[in-house]
């Protein structure tokens, strides 16, 4: 029950984020979506995910507010509102229909189809010695996935730094010194 209330809050927050007139209100609405998602993880008894979602949400919110603080760009959505609404309606109906057709064979919520999870639950403590089974799975049984995830983050940081360093933004013929 509380999960559905949280989902409705998240949907309202997402719609509000799109419809807000100024950017900071929209960013705050996105933050509300993230916080509701964090509480939803807590309700579903996943505290690891809740902590991670909370701190990442705060970091993203700070970065977004910092980036949008002095760049309030109200954009016009008037004009082709009939065409836009029609496209949104058609795509929403299409994706919901296809999603219902594809996902109706999924197992019931809370009863996973993967049998390997039971083996992790039974033997995790004796095999790894970690009492937090989430840590046991992501850093021992599935550590190779975590290595790929870490590589993705590393590549993302390198990409951001490579795009935004000062040498990449200088004009032709301009001498720029690297200061950091």
């Amino acid at each position: 029950m509380i999960l559905y209330i949280l989902l409705i809050i998240m949907i309202i927050g997402a719609i509000a984020a799109v419809q807000m007139q100024d950017l900071i209100s929209a960013v705050i609405a996105v933050g509300a979506v993230g916080l509701a998602l964090s509480i939803a993880f807590l309700v579903l008894k996943a505290p690891d995910l809740a902590i991670t979602q909370l701190v990442v949400e705060i970091l993203c919110l700070i970065i977004l507010i910092r980036a949008t603080l002095k760049k309030d760009l109200p954009f016009s959505t008037s004009g082709r509102w009939f065409f836009n609404t029609l496209v949104v309606a058609v795509f929403t109906v299409t994706f919901l229909g296809i999603g219902y057709y594809c996902l109706k064979d999924l197992p019931v919520f809370g009863q996973p189809i993967m049998k390997v999870a039971n083996i992790y639950l039974e033997t995790g403590l004796s095999k790894t010695g970690a009492s937090n089974l989430v840590a046991a799975v992501i850093l021992d049984f599935r550590a190779y996935d975590t290595l790929g995830e870490a590589t993705i983050l590393f590549t993302a940081v390198i990409g951001v730094i490579a795009i935004m360093r000062r040498v990449g933004r200088k004009k032709v013929g301009e001498e720029v010194e690297e200061d950091e």
């Binding site: 902590i51 970091l59 840590a135 940081v157 730094i161 950091e180």
Partner: protein, 160 residues
């Protein structure tokens, strides 16, 4: 945090107001300690390397928001951040490769896993948590610094 660093602040008008600076001075150490707690107890309680690393990065971002970028970059320079990020990635890979001494990638190579529910247990998992937190914290901090610097040069003014 300590008085020498505070005395070295070049411009008292830089950053936010005196209220924010005072509260930051009180809380930023606690935030850093909480991040270290989360990442070092990742194998016995909820948390882990990713969340702990983000909290550690947030404590430095907190300093940067309150005091301006000069003070924050004095505490953790860009060069140090990139060093720690590379160190974290290489440490994680090194732990993985050491597993080959026992025969497989990411082998939990400690013979004695330790007693469960204790801090020193679970073999390689705490070490992996520390490596990941170094990587994540330094990486996110450097992304934030880079975005702040881009904003400053786009707006055409240094500081504030």
């Amino acid at each position: 945090m300590n008085n020498k660093k505070e005395a070295a602040v070049p411009d008292p008008n830089k950053g936010m107001t005196i209220i924010v600076k005072t509260i930051t001075r009180l809380t930023v150490g606690l935030i850093l300690l909480y991040g270290i707690y989360i990442l070092s107890h990742g194998h016995v309680s909820p948390g882990g390397g990713f969340a702990g690393g983000v909290i550690v990065a947030l404590s430095f971002i907190h300093i940067m928001l309150a005091f301006g970028k000069d003070v924050a970059l004095k505490k953790l320079s860009m060069r140090a951040a990139s060093f720690f990020e590379s160190l974290g990635a290489l440490l994680f890979l090194l732990i993985a490769v050491i597993g080959f001494t026992g025969g497989s990638f990411f082998l939990n190579f400690f013979a004695d896993k330790g007693e469960p529910f204790k801090l020193f247990s679970a073999g390689i998992i705490p070490l992996c948590n520390i490596a990941i937190s170094l990587k994540v914290g330094a990486g996110l901090f450097s992304i934030f610094v880079i975005l702040v610097m881009l904003k400053f040069t786009v707006d055409g003014k240094k500081g504030n």
